[in-house]
């Protein structure tokens, strides 16, 4: 599992990508968000923090696996 970081989430975490080995015991999108928000409290201050699994935005109940490409999606601001 790789976790890609974009925009302000990259600035907060200080890296472009996290190795998923650390998160292999987490089973859902919601678990992953909680874990990351505990570890990087500044993530809690964002207007929103969505999680994409294999390039699709997913709900908290969505099950994640070690083969997934995961991305943190802070509030988008294109255009």
């Amino acid at each position: 599992m790789n976790i890609l970081l974009f925009g302000i989430t990259r600035d907060i975490v200080g890296r472009h990508q996290l190795d998923g080995e650390e998160f292999k015991d987490l089973s859902t999108v919601g678990d992953l968000r909680n874990h990351l928000q505990q570890k990087y409290p500044d993530l809690q201050k964002l207007s929103s923090l969505n999680i994409a699994v294999n390039e699709e935005m997913r709900e908290d109940s969505f099950i994640i696996s070690g083969r997934d490409e995961i991305a943190l999606i802070p509030p988008v601001s294109g255009g």
């Binding site: 890609l4 974009f6 925009g7 302000i8 600035d11 201050k45 964002l46 207007s47 994409a52 390039e55 699709e56 991305a71 999606i73 802070p74 509030p75 988008v76 601001s77 294109g78 255009g79």
Partner: protein, 138 residues
């Protein structure tokens, strides 16, 4: 429907008409978003755009498909720039062509409104003494 989707360092508004021109299209509507020198009364020096490119292109395709269902379109273009952009530089180009003008106007507005809501692209504003990821905080 022919659809052109692009995320790249440089996007060029001067070619969009030839891309949207079609023998059955009486109307072409295009919106270009550009870097504005002032935002909320503060002077902007430049913008920086970053995209989750593979996912952004998938989201753009979904928006294009939805537009195609809602309106009768012959061609559709959505392009977004990434990297550092200075004042007056184009950052986004969306447009559509259709037999009648009502369809291309409505589709064009839908394309830019929905792109801004759904596509994973992020903008950082650079001010003289500050830099801010737009909309990140409440």
């Amino acid at each position: 429907m022919e659809t052109i989707l692009e995320i790249s360092e440089h996007i060029d508004p001067s070619t969009v008409y030839s891309e949207l021109s079609h023998p059955e299209s009486g109307g072409i509507c295009v919106f270009v978003g550009a870097v504005r020198g002032v935002t909320k009364k503060e002077k902007v020096t430049s913008l920086f755009f970053e995209a989750y490119k593979s996912m952004a292109l998938k989201e753009m395709q979904k928006i294009a498909d939805e537009a195609k269902e809602k309106w009768n379109l012959n061609k559709l273009v959505m392009k977004h720039a990434v990297g550092k952009k200075n004042i007056e530089e184009p950052v986004v180009i969306v447009g559509a062509s259709s037999a009648h003008r009502d369809d291309c106007f409505k589709a064009c507005r839908f394309l830019i409104d929905t792109l801004k809501e759904n596509v994973p692209i992020w903008k950082k504003e650079f001010f003289e003494n500050d830099e801010v990821w737009v909309s990140s905080h409440p």
